[in-house]
């Protein structure tokens, strides 16, 4: 029974065995205690094991040594074609945006403008982690964290996901995203921190493609400076999820934050 405790705690047992372990733990004090000690050890390791993030200089070195931009193979004649066509297109688009301001919100670039959003998300995440007191409200209770934002923002963050064993909520703070205030919530993933920024979505250069469906959201996924980043809009609000956890883990969290309607 004792050998199965870790598997039981980490959800690796088949349903029949889970039932049998549960039944045994209900009737055996020693094993129940062993279960408690194992859980405590896991919690202590997850929360207090010192973490050594890679120094920024090392990250720069790694990025410099790895081919960080895709080699571009232009088609024959493409450049000269672009030279002819691009200027009028750019001028026409700029004029359209200038004359019809509402169009700006509808244009969704994927290039340099989208990188503004991605860069901002990564910067905000790093700033949050590096600040002496990253969380202004430290709590794992969503009903303590969300009400704390009342009066500090001119929108409600609209977060319903209270955190769970996989992604415990750690707390929140008020921050800025580009030019506007944002609610910053921090979730944990084992030893890693995941920042979620919620902000008003209008007027930002949202990427349009490629978008992946995750829950009810259509998510733009990318990586920058060693961090994975997800961006999506839901109504009037925008969401940026950033962390050094795997893209798969971020998508899993995003699916919990924006569950199917």
């Amino acid at each position: 029974m004792r050998e199965q405790l870790l598997d039981f705690q980490q959800g690796r047992l088949v349903p029949d065995l889970v039932t049998s372990v549960r039944r045994h733990l209900d009737g055996c004090g020693d094993c129940a205690h062993a279960d408690q000690v194992e859980r405590e050890l896991t919690q202590v390791l997850e929360r207090r094991t010192p973490q050594y993030p890679a120094p920024v200089a090392l990250k720069r070195k790694l990025a410099a040594n790895w081919p960080t931009s895709a080699p571009v193979v232009p088609r024959r004649g493409f450049r000269s074609w672009m030279r002819l066509v691009l200027p009028p297109v750019v001028l026409a688009t700029a004029a359209l945006l200038f004359l019809v301001p509402d169009m700006r919100g509808l244009v969704a670039p994927t290039g340099p403008a989208a990188s503004v959003m991605v860069g901002e998300a990564v910067n905000d995440h790093v700033r949050l982690l590096q600040s002496e007191r990253p969380l202004e409200v430290e709590s794992s209770g969503i009903h303590q964290v969300i009400p704390w934002f009342s009066g500090k923002l001119d929108f409600a963050p609209g977060i319903r996901f209270a955190g769970d064993a996989e992604f415990p909520l750690r707390g929140g703070a008020v921050g800025y995203f580009v030019d506007r205030k944002a609610a910053a919530l921090v979730y944990g993933r084992r030893l890693h921190s995941i920042s979620l920024f919620v902000f008003k979505a209008d007027g930002l250069p949202w990427p349009s493609a490629p978008l992946e469906p995750v829950g009810r959201a259509h998510v733009y996924r990318t990586a920058a400076r060693g961090f994975n980043v997800l961006l999506w809009r839901d109504g009037e609000l925008g969401y940026a999820l950033v962390s050094d956890v795997s893209a798969g883990d971020l998508i899993l969290l995003a699916s919990k934050l924006a569950p199917p309607a």
């Binding site: 405590e40 207090r48 050594y52 120094p55 090392l58 790694l62 081919p67």
Partner: protein, 181 residues
């Protein structure tokens, strides 16, 4: 415009691989025991990964693949160079007699209480006391790797991972409990 074949694939891989720099460095730091060697180890890992990017199967676990390269690099270079007895196999850890392990499980609120008071430096000291195998299996488990992925990283059977993890945690618990006495 199109991305050029192998170079394009290496670029895609690199984009994802760089996201794991912190995670890899953390394991490297616990394996090497100091910042300088950890940095060298991570750089060598990325260099080897870049060199063999064509061998990575898209769709498989990149993180586990990088961990495996890092650990193999550590074993092939650092263990030999430094002749460090700490980084031997799990068997270098004083085995815990089964009877003693059983005694540890006896209902005892004091043990739980001690565990709750363990500090970060206690954990690091205890981890560094364990063998490289034991330390690695605990850190990979903390990273959220499955037993199958950990087995791939460590080049052993899944059953071996299970027993190593169980023994490593028992050794860690025993160390932490004794220090907090």
């Amino acid at each position: 415009m199109s991305r050029g074949g192998d170079a394009g694939q290496a670029w895609e891989l690199g984009r994802e691989a760089l996201a794991y720099a912190d995670t890899l460095y953390n394991l490297a730091r616990y394996l090497a025991g100091n910042d300088t060697d950890a940095e060298d180890l991570v750089q060598e890992t990325y260099s080897r990964a870049l060199g063999s990017s064509g061998q990575f199967t898209p769709g498989t676990n990149l993180k586990a693949w990088l961990f495996r390269i890092l650990r193999n690099t550590f074993i092939s270079q650092y263990r030999r160079q430094r002749g460090n007895p700490v980084v031997g196999g799990l068997d270098t850890v004083a085995p815990i007699p089964p009877a003693a392990a059983d005694i540890n499980w006896v209902r005892d609120d004091v043990e739980l209480d001690r565990l709750r008071k363990v500090m970060a430096e206690d954990i690091e000291r205890a981890l560094m006391t364990l063998s490289e195998d034991a330390r690695t299996v605990i850190l990979l488990d903390l990273e959220g790797l499955s037993e199958v992925e950990t087995a791939e990283v460590m080049g052993c059977a899944v059953g071996t991972v299970k027993s190593r993890l169980s023994r490593a945690r028992a050794a860690l618990r025993s160390l932490l409990k004794d220090w907090k006495r």
